[in-house]
């Protein structure tokens, strides 16, 4: 493994050279990611890796891409999507216009899941989905709406478990091992690079989804991100987190009411 001291040096140097601040990341996970990358790219030791990061901006991009976790899937946690479908969207549907923000959207699987839900609720035409990530490379993938065909069986099962009634394959065209999703799903999506740590609020939303991103932050950084979400939510707007994430440690919890037992909170104050 790597020493804590080495991680500290890396974080300091990255901030000094590139202005990106990883100091509030969950240490255990960050350390594992760095160690994995060093192994993966065949560096002999930490120093060799550090020099490469400092002297090669292209490699630094790779580091950011590999260190941030980009594991995602469509309709991950189908029961969560079922609640969105049956409970939350009908509430949002009463508004003339719906603004949504997927913060930390990675390669976009959850954004497309959301667009499918909105379409089936006949709300997509009056919605706008902002999807942001720190990592520009994953956004390029997300923008294409093309995902590996081999995943479709799993996604189709998830979709059905979320209450989807259609034949899932109706949403994409299969070609050469890839599934390309319908263009009309993309029409209401806006992709943009955004850093939850250093960037500010950029709009007011009715629903913010940030699932399995805060787990990579320490408590202070989580607090900062939650403040950003609070600043970006309309009154009575919803915040959706991952199934094992919580706002109960945050000062902001009194401003929100949890929606039943779900990891969905409504801004009440």
């Amino acid at each position: 493994m790597i020493e804590d001291r080495e991680i500290e040096i890396l974080i300091n140097d990255v901030f000094e050279y590139y202005g990106l601040d990883f100091s509030g990341y969950s240490q255990a996970s960050f350390k594992r990611r760095v160690y994995r990358l060093i192994q993966l790219d065949g560096f002999l030791n930490f120093s060799e890796f550090l020099i490469r990061v400092k002297t090669d901006p292209e490699y630094f991009k790779r580091m950011v891409e590999e260190i941030t976790v980009n594991v995602t899937e469509m309709f991950r946690d189908p029961l969560f999507y079922k609640v969105l479908r049956n409970e939350i969207l009908p509430v949002l549907g009463t508004k003339p216009f719906i603004r949504l923000w997927h913060a930390g959207c990675s390669t976009g699987e959850e954004v497309f899941s959301m667009a499918i839900l909105l379409k089936e609720a006949n709300l997509l035409h009056k919605s706008l989905i902002y999807a942001t990530d720190l990592n520009g490379i994953v956004l390029e993938t997300a923008r294409k709406g093309i995902f590996p065909l081999q995943m479709m069986k799993q996604y189709s099962e998830n979709y059905m478990a979320s209450g989807g009634k259609k034949d899932f394959s109706h949403y994409y065209t299969a070609n050469y091992g890839l599934a390309k999703f319908e263009e009309d799903l993309l029409e209401k999506m806006v992709f943009s690079q955004h850093n939850l740590i250093s960037d500010t609020s950029f709009n007011e939303f009715d629903l913010i989804l940030c699932r399995n991103v805060l787990i990579y932050f320490d408590k202070d950084l989580q607090e900062r991100a939650l403040k950003l979400f609070d600043d970006s939510l309309a009154k009575l707007g919803f915040l959706a987190l991952g199934t094992k994430e919580t706002i109960k440690f945050s000062h902001l919890k009194s401003r929100f009411q949890q929606f039943e037992k779900e990891k969905i909170w409504r801004k009440i104050n």
Binding site: M1, S26, Q27, A28, S29, K31, R32, R33, V69, V71, D77, P78, L79, F80, N212, L214, I215, Y216, D218, K219, Q222, G242, T243, K244, E245, T246, K248, F249
Partner: protein, 194 residues
Amino acid sequence: MEENKLISGCKVLIIGGSAGSLEVLMKIFPKLGPVSSFAIVIVLHRKNTEDSLLEELFALKSQIPVKEVEDKVKLLPGSIYIAPSDYHLLFEKNDLLSLDISEKVNFSRPSIDVSFESAAAIYGSSLVAILLSGANADGTQGLIEVKKAGGTIIVQKPENSKMPFMPQNAVNHTSPDFILDEGEILKLISAINS
């Protein structure tokens, strides 16, 4: 077997297992009295579902309270924490748990290796790790790290395991402090810190 070698200074007992391990735990935990000086963390290969059946089962069968694992909850002595399905469970400074959805390790999420290694980095010699029955190689690398950090490592006797591959692999590649059957594991846990 060094039956009399008591384990002292244990802050965290971490147990990893796969196929065949739940039955072992269901024999041990109903007979285990309350513990006060250490936390128990259980990392089992489990189905990727959103239910909390495993948590409910332990709550029902054990006198030791089961705490729900959410990101950044504090690990308290006297309680059981179970790694949630589809997340890796990691350990942070200040006794906090954290979660991670990165790639599977040994085809598993949660991976036993990941949790053992992470616990070893934080708890060092105050960690006791037990590896139970299972059919893949997960856990061995983690035990190596626990040992290296000064912790105590225990492996279920392969001949006593429903799926001997996982404990046998550990026996072949590590030097366990104890190799025990389920009855002996129960005795040992009861004797920790006493």
